[in-house]
């Protein structure tokens, strides 16, 4: 390996992720190369100076923690899992739709048939009242009512 290649890998030696072969090569090179030793020494000084971390005092840590905890919701309501994220949660809308469809099929549709075969309002009342129906533009039927003998006299 050329000197330039070794120099490129120097800080990888400092970081650690090297193969055993590379490590042996670099460790063999450092004792005989002042330039590389200087480069690695420079970086160590820079790193220690610029990236040192202070340890927060226990008191400041307590204040920090209590400030955050005060901002959190007191109950775990925030952790309620929406039904669609629960296991098999996708079944909920499916079962709901099926129940509605069953209700429509077994309860509403048979009654609709009965309704269609039963006498209409018009025929039921035609003997004693005079109704006239008219169709509006929107298609809605309105019945106009005129009093008959069933009406209670004032």
């Amino acid at each position: 390996m050329r000197h330039e290649e070794i120099k490129e890998k120097l800080l990888a030696l400092y970081d650690g992720p090297l193969t055993e072969k590379e490590r042996v090569l670099l460790e063999g090179h450092l004792p005989v190369c002042a330039e590389c030793r200087q480069a690695i020494g420079e970086w160590k000084t820079l790193s220690r100076t610029l990236f040192a971390r202070s340890t927060p005092s226990e008191a400041s840590e307590d204040i920090f923690v209590s400030r955050i905890m005060a901002r959190l919701e007191p109950s775990p309501a925030g952790f309620m899992v929406p039904f669609w994220e629960k296991p098999l949660g996708w079944l909920v809308p499916l079962v709901g739709s099926a129940a509605i469809a069953a209700w429509v099929f077994f309860s509403v549709l048979p009654n609709m048939n009965e309704l269609s075969s039963s006498p209409t309002i018009e025929t039921a009342f035609s003997s004693d009242t005079s109704y006239s129906s008219s169709s509006t533009e929107s298609g809605v039927m309105f019945a106009s009512y005129s009093p008959s003998t069933y009406d209670i006299a004032p």
Partner: protein, 196 residues
């Protein structure tokens, strides 16, 4: 107790257990925010927001990565959002800073070499870090301050291992080239226990 066990406790209603997670990671999160934002007050506020955000997203944490990697990712995104919002703030180049504060920078590294606390020079350190591009600052902080492995950095930054290696190398080169003449290096072979 592992992070995962604490998270299970929180999700089952023991929200006070979150304090334990905050204590465990507050130094890292505040430190990371400080390196990224270069402002103590902003870093403290950002760190609080990050912990609140993480709490509310805890249900989404599936455990595919470690909690710390997940938290670092939230922290990185939050800091980058803040940095993007303050793009109008004037940034100084490292060259200009070296020219303006050369004496101070020299003292900074001189202090370090005599084993005094470099944290006394926090303001200057923050100014130096603020001159770096966002991605260089992110990657250097994750590697140098937090000691993350290359793969962890790739997970946090959502990039490939090769991208991490390349970016880290370029970021180091930039810092080293600008600050080299301030460094009074000691031969690595003369520092006991330093040889890696």
């Amino acid at each position: 107790m592992t992070d995962q066990e604490i998270i299970q406790q929180i999700l089952s209603g023991q929200t006070e257990a979150y304090g334990e997670l905050i204590r465990q990671y507050n130094k890292k999160v505040v430190g990371y925010c400080l390196s990224m934002l270069s402002n103590q007050t902003e870093a403290q506020e950002a760190a609080q927001d990050i912990f609140v955000k993480a709490y509310h997203s805890l249900r989404k944490f599936k455990g595919n990565s470690s909690f710390s990697t997940w938290l670092y990712r939230i922290t990185t995104n939050h800091c980058l959002d803040i940095l993007r919002k303050r793009t109008r703030r004037k940034t100084v180049s490292l060259d200009a800073l070296v020219e303006a504060e050369g004496d101070h920078i020299e003292r900074l590294f001189a202090v370090e070499s005599t084993a005094a606390s470099p944290l006394e020079n926090r303001d200057l350190i923050q100014k130096i870090l603020a001159t770096l591009p966002e991605d260089y600052r992110t990657i250097l902080t994750l590697r140098e301050a937090d000691g993350l492995e290359y793969q962890e950095i790739a997970d946090v930054m959502d990039c490939s291992l090769d991208a991490v290696k390349g970016r880290l190398s370029r970021a180091r080169k930039q810092l080293q080239e600008h600050l080299r003449h301030f460094l009074k290096t000691t031969d690595v072979y003369t520092i006991e226990g330093e040889k890696t």
